[in-house]
Structures are given as C-alpha cells and as structure tokens.
Assembly symmetry: D2
Homo-oligomer: 299 residues x 4
C-alpha cells in the first residue's frame, strides 16, 4: 500500500489587469482579473522539489500582462484562447492550461449630454466570467457571469411541497423571489468568428426575460427554464450550469401593530439561504473533457 501523488495543478490567481486603448483621443478600458493554471509533468516539483519543468507563477503573471498588449483583451474569450495556446504551444512541458477571467464593466461618463473621451464609472452590476481550457487537443470556452442579482416582486408561488414533522413553512401563492445568479455555459465549437460579446448579451437577456415572464412554482423550475432559454437562443451552447441562492425576503409580521402589511414590507435576510443548482444540456453534446475542472478549490 503506497502513498502516491494524485491530481495537481498550479498557477497565478487574480492578476488585476487594466488595458487602456488610446490610439485616438477616445480611450477604451478593459478591466480584468486574470488567473492561469498549468497542467503537465510537474510531478518532480511536488515529489522532489525539482523545478526544471515549472514555469514560475510570476512568469505567468508577466505573460498575462504582455498578452494584453499583443491581443486586445476585448472580447475576453479571444484573449484567453490566445494566452492558453501560448502556454500549451510555446512552453515545452505544459500540456494543458485553464485561463479564468473576470471582467468588470465600466460605463463612459456623459458630460453635458456628450460621452467623455477618457472618463468612466464602474458599472458594478454582474461580473462577466470566462474559462478557457486547453485539454490535450480540445479547446473549451465556458462563458458566464456571477452576481447578477434579480428580483421579482410577485409571480412566484411555493406550495404543495413535501411535509414532514419538521416542516413549519406555510405555502404561498405570492412571494418575492430573488437570487444572485451564477451561470456558466459551455461552447461545443468555439468558431474563430464567434461574436462573444453579442452572445454574452444575448444569453443574459434571454435568461432575464425568462425569469421575468415565467410564472414560478419553485426556484428550481425557474432556473431550468432560464437555462433552457439560453440553449434555445444559441445552438452553439452545449450545456449550461446555474447556481442560485434563494435570497429570502420575509414578510414582516405586523399583526401586533396598527398597520396592515399586505405583501409590502419585507426583511431581506442574509443567512441561511436556499441554494438551488440546475443544469441543462443537449443530449448530443460533445464531451466536456476538462471544461468544468476548476482552478480554485480542491483538485
């Protein structure tokens, strides 16, 4: 019975990179957090401290910066694909790479009704994400977002659920439904001319629209239909995964006060929260390979 090395990977996380395009007086800004993980024959580094195959994480950071000059990082997916190929194609021992990118959105400021050339305000709504994975010869792109906080103030039921001896929840036909949505969708075929920014906007709009219009009988149902809406809108998407905290808004009990509370005043609770996870997949989707194998967390 021997103890052997299991899965490994290493890289640089959260390089905060800002790229300004200033070829004309009208500047553009791209604001990113870039992480890279390398996979390959790094066993000797772990077992024996032999670094000869190890490209330092400091070098990975430098490369992310240089690549932001070589390849414009908007859309982030094209930049990530190029950076991943550099690590796998140009650095001898590297066999696989995962590039994770977060993009923070900025809005151009208006002054006297006209867009300003070089001043921006952070938009701050959801964070756009991308994961680019090279896995042997396969190329995966997982586009997505996190922290998209949506709420509907009616059109949400929760009733006819399983009741056991510890169940005290009352059924309802009118509640607030709110969540901070994380969604990631995997592309089967990342064509060179993919309109990444258009797809991002389109998927988000399709999901938010479905969230708004679907009469909800559970967050589970809402998530599934949001995911399905994304796949219906974009045939190139093979699969989508969603995770959604049920951000509870409790109706405040006014029974002892001199006012009624007819679904008007709520307490937005922090914890605990329901956590609902869903996924939708095409039944003929190409294999996911390492597409979903994460960088952070446990290997």
């Amino acid at each position: 019975m021997a103890i052997v090395l299991g899965p490994i990977q290493y890289g640089k996380a959260e390089t905060r990179l800002v790229r300004i395009v200033r070829d004309t007086a009208r500047h553009e800004i791209t604001d990113l957090s870039v992480s890279s993980a390398l996979r390959g024959p790094f066993g000797p580094a772990y077992l024996d401290g032999d670094q000869s195959n190890v490209l330092p994480t400091d070098t990975q950071k430098n490369t992310a910066f240089v690549w932001a000059k070589k390849v414009h990082p908007d859309p982030i997916e094209a930049y990530g694909l190029s950076l991943a190929h550099h690590f796998v194609d140009d650095v001898e021992p590297v066999e696989g790479a995962r590039i994770e990118i977060e993009r923070y959105d900025w809005t151009r400021v208006e002054v006297d009704g006209k867009p300003h050339d070089h001043t921006f305000v952070r938009t701050g709504q959801e964070v756009r994400t991308a994961a680019i994975v090279l896995d042997g010869t396969a190329e995966h792109v997982v586009q997505g977002f996190k922290e998209l906080i949506v709420l509907k103030s009616t059109g949400s039921h929760f009733k006819d659920f399983l009741v056991d001896e510890y169940t005290t929840l009352q059924p309802t036909d009118d509640r607030i439904m709110a969540t901070s949505l994380t969604a990631q969708w995997r592309l089967t075929d990342a064509a060179a001319d993919t309109d990444w920014n258009g797809m991002y906007a389109g998927v988000k709009a399709a999901m938010v629209s479905r969230f708004a219009t679907l009469e909800s009988f559970a967050l589970q149902q809402t998530l599934w239909h949001m995911g399905r809406a994304a796949l219906e809108a974009y045939p190139a998407i093979a699969e989508i995964r969603l995770t959604a905290p049920n951000k509870h808004h409790f109706l405040v009990d006014f029974s002892r006060f001199d006012e009624p509370n007819e679904n008007e005043v709520f307490h937005a609770d922090d914890r605990p929260y329901g956590l609902i996870q869903a996924s939708a997949v095409r039944d003929d989707a190409a294999p996911a390979g390492d597409a979903w194998r994460p960088f952070t967390g446990l290997v």
Copy 2:
C-alpha cells in the same frame, strides 16, 4: 479623581428593509439598510443596568419596518426625517436621534423592449446614503453616496512634489486616476418640498462632470473642485466632505519584453492606497451641531 460616564448612544444597525409598492400591476421597489441611534438620559442603563428609559433596539427595528408602511421610503430623506421625529417626539425620554440609511438601486427589467411590471435587476453602482439627525430642536440632513468608482485614463499629472531622502516616486504628466468616492453633503435648510432625488442626481452629475473635465494635478485638487461644484450647483448645501482612496494603477514594466507599454497596460493594486480627504464649506454656513456625529465607530 473619579471615573465618569462619557458620551454614549445606542441603537439598531443594518435593518435590511425592502418596500414594494403594489397599488397597481406596475410595482415599485425600495431596498434599504436602516440604522437608528438614540441619544438621551440613558445613563442609568449604563451605570446601574436600569432599562426603564431604554427603548429596545428590537423595537427600533420594528418601528423602521412599520414606518416604511406609514411613510413611503422614497425619497429616503423624508422617511428618515419622519422616523427620527417619531423617536424624539413620541418616545418620552429620547432627546436626539440619528437615522442612517443606505439605498441599493434597482433597474426595471426590459422584456422585448418593454419595461416589466414586477421584475428588477440590482444596479449595483454606488450606494446612496442619508443621515438624518435631530439634535435638540435642530434638524440636519446629510445626503451622500459611497463606492462611486470613477476613473480617468489621462488628464492627470503628479509632479513638483516635496522630495526627501525616502522619495523614490517619479513625477508624471500622464497617469490613470481612479478612486472609490465617498461624499456627504449637509443641508442648511431641509425645506419640506425639497426634491431629494433630483438633488441627489444633480450633485452626483456635477461632481462626476468636474472629475472628467478638470485637468488634474493631484487628487487633492480634484476633490476640492468636485466639492465646490456641488456647492455651486445647490445653494442649499452648506458643506460637503469627501474621502477618496487613490486606487493606484501602476504601469507594468515591459522593458525586458518584446513589446512597448506606452501607458496601455496597468496593474490595479489593492493596497496600500493613498487616502485623500477634503471638504468645502460656505463661510456663512449654519453650525453643524451633531450633523456629523456618527452612529457606528467610537462615540
């Protein structure tokens, strides 16, 4: 030499209150964090554990909820004034009150180009704030915001500064200037018909516009002129205070790489950061009284 009780206050902090207006199918949402602090003859509670003058913080929470039904919490300033007056006018021993409110903005979702009746997405940019203070017979309103993140990619210099033996910074005529601005402005005369929402939008626009158009020679100078712009735009503002971390964006050194970096690729650093504080005040402003005496932090 005796040990005596110094300044005191107590209250409830961060009641997360969501108010839905649903009189018609087209709902409205107001999303707040409400804190209240009471001031008055509470010495016996501290010295002897005698609670007879102490309105529980739990009651303050209940009252904030009920008040959101009695007085629509939009604008937050009118709601806060009414709540503060309730504590001071209706609860016998209370002599002064401070209501602090944070407001989180939501945007109505569009579906097929039309605004949806009851679905919203959290906007997430800056947090609007208000502090309402009753101080004896004086009434103070401090309107403001925090976490307004603005950036200009040129038009910012820093040079001709004091140099000593520990100075290594190089002067520059072209740098990124970015900050996460906190600003609060005090009203001398909170007239009953004040257009609080209009003033908020106007002050913010005036400050962002000045940030954009002023050629900057220091964040200090930029802050002062932003503050002055607010006072110039609204005569009712007696005073404004600003605090602004200088969110450093360092040009990445490409000298050893095969690419130039002509103010294009930056590292957005977390810490340390410069912290610049400024204020602008009318020379005939009415006294501030307790307007700036905070709730959180040390008394």
Copy 3:
C-alpha cells in the same frame, strides 16, 4: 437534438447554529455553520414546478436545529452522519445527502487563573470543516480545515525553475513562505468509534510539523509532503487534497535608502498570488464516489 435536465441538487446553506450544553454550571459551546444538500428524484420540481418530492430548505434548516438537540454536535462528524442518515433514511424520496459543516472554535476564558464556567472568547484561527456524504449505500466523511495561515521566515528556496522570455523572477535560497491552507482528507472507513477530534488535532499537528521541518524547494513540494505526513499518521485516511495560495512577501528594496535590508523588512502583497494544488492518495484507496462532489458552486 433535445435539451435535457443535467445534474441537480438543492438544499439550505449556512445555518448558523450555536449549541450550549448546560447540564452543569460549567457550560460547553459548539458554534457551527451547517449546510445540507439533497439528491434524488427532484426532476419534476425543475421541469414542471411539481414540489411533491421536495422537502423545503426551510425544513432542512429546522431539522439541523432539532438534530443539534438530539445528537450533540461535537464531534461534528457524528452529528453530520446522523443528520445525513435522517434525510436519506427517513424522508422517502431522498436518495443522497451532503452535509457540510464549518466549526468556529472558542476558548474558555480564565478569570484569576481559573477557567470560567460560561464565558468564552472566539479563537479565530483556522475554521474546521467536515463534509458527510451519503451516496447510495456508501458513507463518506471528509474532514478538514480552511484558513490555517502558516509562515516560515527561512528554510524556503525557489530556484532552477523554467525560464522563458517573460521570466524576470530571480532565484532565491532564502525567502518567506506563507500560505492560508485549505486541506480536506477522506476517510475510507468511518468506524463508529472514530476519535474525530483526536484525528483532527493529529492531522493538523502532523502537517504543521512537516511544514516547519521540511527544507522547502517549492510550495508544491511542501504541500505534497504535508499531505503525505497526514496519510502516514492515520491509516484510515484514503486521500488528502490541499489548496494553498502562495501569499507573497516581497523584500522591500532599500537600495536607495540609508539602511540595508537583509531579509528583514517585507511587503505582504494581496494579489495576485500563486495558487498551488496538490493531493496524496493511497494506491489501494476505495473509490471516492460522491465524496468530493461539492454542494456550493456549479453542479
């Protein structure tokens, strides 16, 4: 080509549960965050909004509370096993369950050199974790911790690494090595009489000791040897996984100042950070099944 439901699960996250044992004047405290995820035939809830098989997350929360009375939640692993069995064995449609627990440690206060009966101070070092998984008939326990921040001020090298055109890092034979360690280890056979608290303390001590005594040539190597130390110390551990940010401490450049800096003054940087992941496994380990399938994050 159809769109079908992929992996799903749902549950209640972060129920903050405090259990006081007060059978005698000398109280005991156990302070937990409990999360539960259920797996089973919940497809109709997603596809059609049919909740008849869905035990509400609110009920899961209630059950976690009641179970803290029925089964003393110290050690957390025994409590988690009992709670997981309740969901799988007693609630008809549930087929699998994952219980995740965080434990926050408290130290009994001393007054005049004697331990006080009912006063505690939060210890606040690492957070102890447990994941208990019922997966068909298999029972998995994954014990661990997160946020164990360790540092050695010498005895760490990094050199002889791969150098490419973007490498600027200098090799070193003396640096600070620091990390905020997350480690989780999987038990092959959770015997009823396992001394969970003893094992936890023993694994932690073995890993910290190895961290201290191993001359390090890379964080990769240090992690592997820490993991191996755990498996060497406890034959019941089948596998261990570690993830460790390399918390960089950069030597401050004093070359322009009137003082030398001989590995004495460092800047502790926030981001970016190296992120190193490792695992050690017995070559005859029983299959992991769903042991590592997480609750939070994407399914």
Copy 4:
C-alpha cells in the same frame, strides 16, 4: 458668501509590513498594517494643484518600511511615535501626523513539544490597534483592539425596559450575550518607559474578566463596567471608548417539534444587530486634542 476649504488631511493607508528579526536562529515576526496621515499647510495642493508642500503618499509608505528597520516595530506604539516624530520634526511643512497601526498576532509553532525557530501560525483572534497622534506639541497614544469576540452563555438579563406600541420583545432573565468588541483607550502621559505590551495584555484581561463576572442587565451596563475596569487597572489611561454590536443569538422555537429547547439551541443572526457605544473618562483627564480625530472616514 464664499465657498472655502474646510478640514483636510492626506496619507497612505494599509501598508502591509512584515518585520523579521533574524539576529539569531530563533526568528521573531511582527506583522502590521501601517497607515499615516499628515496635517499641515496643504491648502495650495487642494486649491491650485501646487504640490510643493506635499510629501507623496508613496514616500510615506517607503518611510514606514525604512522605520521598521530603524526602530523595531514591537511594541507598535514606540515605532509609531518615532515615525510620527519623523514626519513632524524632520519634514519641514508637516505640522501634525496620525499613525494608525493594526497588528496581527502570530504564535510560534511547536514541533515535538519544542518551539520552532522560524515557523509561525497566525493566531487570528482580536486585532491589536494603535493610533499615535502628534498635534502641535502634544503627543497622544490611543491603544486598543477590535474584533475581540466574547460570549457568555448565561448571566445576562434584559427586562424592565421601555415598552411602546411597537415593542414585541419579551423580557428575559437568561440569554446569550455576545459581541465583537472594539475598544480604544487614551494615555495621558506616554512615558518613555511605558510597558506597552504589558499594558495591552493587562487591559484586555481586566475587561474580559469583568465581562465574565458581572451579572449583566444590559450590554450598556456591561460595557461601562468593562471600561471602568480598564481605568481602575491603569491610572495612566485617561479615557476609554467602546463600541459593541449586540450579536443576537435567538433561541430556536421548538414548540412544534418533539424536543424541548431549554436555552440550548440558538440561531446566531447576522443582521440587524444592536449597536451599543460607551465611554468612561477620568474627570480630571487632560484634553484629548486631536487624539480621537480619525484618519479614515470623513474629515
């Protein structure tokens, strides 16, 4: 009616400084966050962008690092006093300075029962703080801590409070009392030979002991008596200020379940929380001057 410059200050915040003493094989570690604010004739920088009196915040950072070599930063108060005097005494235009320091505690690791020479684990309980202020010729030291989380599981009442129409809280003679305490105490006379580390430990112990032993009738009362205990123990302390969130632990309602809950199972709530502030002062204390004028926040 003119608009004029009000209060100003500027500085560098949160320089994360780690100092290793390695004169022998047995190393020592001091881990700090250092912030400095300068006060003086900086009006031209604000009004006109004239930096000639402005010592860059980057220089302040450099100086904090160099000073950690010149003056051992343990105790932090002596280091802070020296650094403040450098800014005020050695840098011509500077008239006042505030140095704020946070200290993160590390514990030496034991290996085989013996303390290890150069390996440490972050202790992580409370954060020790110091503020050193030079204000004209006056010298102030404010010692303190934050995030000291204490809890007593009995010995706490809350009853006989003021009841109005919005009061629903029930009185109790047995509840959990818990808080995350921030305390700061001001020294009247910072003698050169003050045992800062001894005083810190002594004040903390006196306050924790009083928290444990005092039968509590309100958090207000507990805070006052903790503050008084500090002043009784150390005559050099002129004044102490405390701020304490009442971290509510709600008894979970088991009335519908098959178990009693006799003050045994609690839900630790996040928000809202009571916030209680107190202070104790000697009636002949020397004036505080700028001792309490903060760095961060609004001027």
